[in-house]
């Protein structure tokens, strides 16, 4: 509202602008347009076009490498994606695995993240003074670390012989434990591969800090008078949390859920370093799949088609996100 009225003001204000202002705008906006045309619009169009060709940088072709060795295949890549038969080409089967693993990963990460971060933010916010800052820093620390380092640390924790996890389990059971958490594809819990759980633990450990600080900020925005009123009415901390805090945080929780989901869909670093998609493709997430087909097997046409599908999924989530953002703006 304020933004719009100010826009109008500035419009009226600069309507009679002089030559210097015109020069300034021409000198800044035209490079911007040229830059965006070359580094965003052009690659976007190229990327979309790639999806309709059987393109590989190993083959030679005409303009931008299209044609000849890289023939036009129309919608064939997308049609292949719908081939669910057992004799589907390997890349199609891998794509189906990628979709399934990514959906499973996001479906587990989002609720687990919120189940930990919302109460944790409430607990941290309930502590006074200096301790609050210390706890927040501790839980935020992993966000600052490179995800590659996080993956190496956790890979070592899950190591069958040298890992911390098996050592701790060994301490409690009094036996030597040699479970290969990241390598043994026969390990599953409720049909979910244990290796995927291991990845989720490492991912949550790093990712939690984001939502935590967002929730802490939102909690600080709740007026003290509301909390005081609840306390005077005799609410204990559990009632306070469930009846007052959660409903007031709901817009923030929704927003955080969507942001978490979008980044979970694009998980790559931790998976690539910890398991490389294994064991038996149990952690083969979509972006890892795209990366392998584009840059390892050089099937860039196919990988571009998969990217488009992934983009459409993420876009639809982002769309919901902006809707929510807009409604929250007005509130």
């Amino acid at each position: 509202m304020t933004a719009r009225s100010q826009d109008k003001n500035s419009g009226r204000f600069f309507r009679g602008r002089n030559a210097a202002e015109k020069r300034f705008l021409a000198g800044t906006i035209s490079p911007l347009v040229l830059y965006l045309a070359f580094w965003t619009i052009f690659p976007l169009l190229w990327g979309i076009t790639l999806a309709f060709f059987d393109y590989s940088p190993r083959q030679t072709g005409g303009f931008l490498g299209f044609g000849e060795g890289n023939p036009f295949v129309g919608l064939q890549h997308f049609e292949n994606m719908l081939n669910f038969s057992a004799d589907a080409p390997l890349e199609v089967q891998q794509f189906h695995i990628g979709i399934r693993v990514t959906l499973l990963f996001a479906a587990l990460v989002v609720p687990l993240n919120l189940l930990i971060t919302v109460p944790l933010a409430f607990l941290i916010e309930s502590v006074n003074g200096k301790a609050k800052g210390i706890f927040r820093t501790i839980f935020f620390l992993p966000v600052l670390a490179p995800s590659v380092g996080v993956a190496i640390m956790w890979g070592f924790i899950f190591h069958p012989q040298r890992g911390l996890l098996n050592a701790i389990i060994g301490q409690f059971t009094g036996r030597l434990v040699g479970t290969a958490w990241l390598r043994d594809s026969s390990l599953t819990v409720w049909g979910i591969p244990v290796a995927l759980f291991a990845i989720i633990i490492a991912y949550l450990w790093q990712d939690m800090g984001y939502n935590l600080v967002i929730f802490i900020a939102a909690l600080q925005g709740i007026p003290q008078s509301i909390k005081d009123a609840a306390r005077i009415d005799g609410a204990n901390w559990l009632q306070m949390f469930v009846r007052i805090i959660i409903p007031l945080l709901m817009p923030t929780i929704l927003l955080a859920a969507i942001l978490t989901m979008i980044s979970a869909f694009q998980v790559f670093d931790i998976v690539q370093v910890m398991t490389e998609g294994g064991p038996d493709d149990q952690t083969q997430v979509l972006l890892l799949n795209i990366y392998s087909y584009a840059f390892r097997y050089q099937k860039m046409g196919w990988a571009a088609a998969v990217s488009i599908v992934m983009f459409l999924v993420v876009l639809s989530i982002s769309f919901v996100q902006t809707r929510l953002l807009r409604s929250e703006w007005e509130y």
Binding site: A3, N9, S10, G11, F13, F14, R23, L25, T28, I29, L32, Y35, L36, W39, T40, F42, L44, W46, G47, L50, L120, L123, S126, V127, F139, F140, L141, L144, A145, P146, S147, V148, G149, V150, I152, M153, F156, Q161, R162, L164, N166, A167, W205, I214, A217, L259, I262, Q266, F268, D269, V273, I290, Y291, F295, M300, A303, A304, S307, M310, F311
Partner: protein, 283 residues
Amino acid sequence: MPASTVSQKRVKLRINPAYFILIPASLIALLPFIWMILSSFKTLKEIRQIPPTFVPQEFTLDNYKKVLDDPDLPLGIFYRNSAIIAIANVIQVLFTSSLFGYIFAKFEFKGKKVLFWFVLALMMIPHQMTMIPGYLILAKLGLINKLVGLIIPAAIDAFGIFLFRQFALSIPNELLDAARVDGAGEFYIYRRIVLPQLGPALATFGMLTFMFNWNAYLWPLIVLTEKNVRTLPIILTWFSNQQVDKTNLTMAASVLVILPVLLVFLLVQKWIVEGITLSGLKG
């Protein structure tokens, strides 16, 4: 007297349960770091020991010496590569974001609506969408394995433009007008009047951009395939794959790569937290 004991009791009851959960939880949160650091001081023999020890029985600095003396791992070069890319990208992104944010906030020109709409749309396009053609363009331009290959395509940050527009809207028009009356040029106004007004946003967004660039993995992995141009995250995975068996060396290298910058980030944590809560931006 009885009143105060009651209130003290209530305060204790309110606080204690939180600490009861927070302290163990924070120990678990710190455990991977502690395990990494402790393991980096163990001998190879101790690392191989089954079951493993937690605290090193024999404390050694050899791993650090070996990693720092390893001719295959000139850490200084990789630190430099990472720093060049991150600093260059922070400078250019702050410049373009503040300049165009200001222009979108305070100027009217033909096509402004379309252009701003396009910038907003860009925010929603995930990076993997332009990853493959982006690589092909860099390859055609001969920028693969060049640090500038990670800098030139990163000059515009759509989210940055959007964010700085929000901040620039609150700069009073009278301030800009007064400068114009005094005969100041437009670029001078941007540099001397607008930029100082955007100071806190520059610091916050700058820290966040630096962190994302410093920790980036996938895109540098694609563009930088030759060893000596790599950045720290890529060289760390490369090293850990080389030292399959010598986990003590991998942990020492991890400490050397992760900890120094982690401590710097910790010092500016306030700005980073502010940036995240302000924007909801994720890496």
